[in-house]
Amino acid sequence: MCTREEIAGLYEKYYEMIWRICLTQLGSPHDACDGTQETFIRFIQCGKRFRDEEHKKAWLIRTAVNYCRNVQKSSWNKKRADICGDEYISSLYPAADEDAETNREVIRTLMTLPDKYRSILYLHYYEGYSLKEISDILKVNPSTLRSRFAKAKEAMKEYLENDR
């Protein structure tokens, strides 16, 4: 069982990563906060022993992605409107920022992708995980993951061009 300080430390270290995953998966700031909170609460409740820090991080990512999928599959979710519209995307990047418009375009394009592609892009291009590591974390068949990655990359080609 972790101490209160350890939980607080873990939160400080990973909250932004989990929130970004939830935000890109769910497209709603409120849902992203719920997802982040729920992920850490599950961590507190799971009482699992972790091999190392990397294992702990992978567990948090997997749990966050699972949470998002369950939310997306829920009948409540399918009946409501998406609130992550232009207004919210604009608020993410202050207009004064040099790349604000480009950043918004990236998020808009990302949100047009099926949600199953978005976390793969984030984990690969931002967190720096290899496809093999992502397939282990998300527990997705490697060949399935490669297909999804190729499709996602194609759709985001313009924004990932420097990575090729």
């Binding site: 939160y11 060949s143 399935t144």
Partner: protein
Amino acid sequence: MKKESKYFKAMDKLHVPYEDYKEMKSRILENYDRSNNKTSVFTARKRVAAAVIILCLIVIPSTAYAAIRFTGLSKLFNIEDTDSGLVSQLSKYAVCEKTSVQNSNYRLTLINNLYNKEQQIGIAVCSCLNYNENADFWFDVRGKNLSGSGERWVDLGENYSDGGRLIGIYYSLAAGAEVDINSTELYVIMEISGKEELRLKMPECNDFETVKLVSDKMPDTEIILSPVGIKCKLMSKEDIDKLYAHFDFEKVMYIVYNNGDTVRVADIKWSGANCGIGVPEGDFYEWGFIPENLFDVDNIKSIKINDSPFDAKFTAEFKR
């Protein structure tokens, strides 16, 4: 990872608003404090509640069964005096026919389709001849919506594979907005490198409340999937010991099946609210995200399917 990409820069500038950061942190720590302070009381209450529920579950059906039998009502309900029990006697049978489609290179076979009307989810179990895990195979369930003007295709599925040739496709009608099952034909689609190779129309199948899977090669195998859990009636103590030797995970259930001459052991591991399927070497593959309220993981003991994917013959028994 190249930090000059537009994607990286856009992500890098995404920050949690400070108010949200503070609120989430305080709620998480509150939850931590609460769970630490109330553990003993909660556990005690939970134990009492569980004991009462178990008692009710045992007493009520037994009393009802005894009442029916000893008051002569058994003749009215046509209940035989057999070991198989009340539940199986009241079960009705429905079978999802195995269907196939093939071209010169591949054969796609739908072994079973389990669909739950209330949850609007299903699992299509398929096998594929010439499946090669190194190629970009993609299996999906899509719905052809026939209502309104013209046909409309919606993507409903999410596939997993066991890394061999047995494929399960979890699908959800909730995934395709405004899909009406009554006016939607369901298809299993197989794509290779983005090109559609085979399309197999799923036969109509009753929704399931309780499904019993029976293997013709393992007559003593009986797997029951129900809204409240999965039960298995087959394993000898030796089998279970052997399997448990491979794993030390919490909340694990097992599938054992023959793939040609090789017995492969796969496990379904509960992680968060989801299920993963994989082989014991640690390669976990996605099986589908089954809502927690559909399968109660605490009721899962073990599962054993002993069959070859190519001539697997499962029948589904539906309790009505």
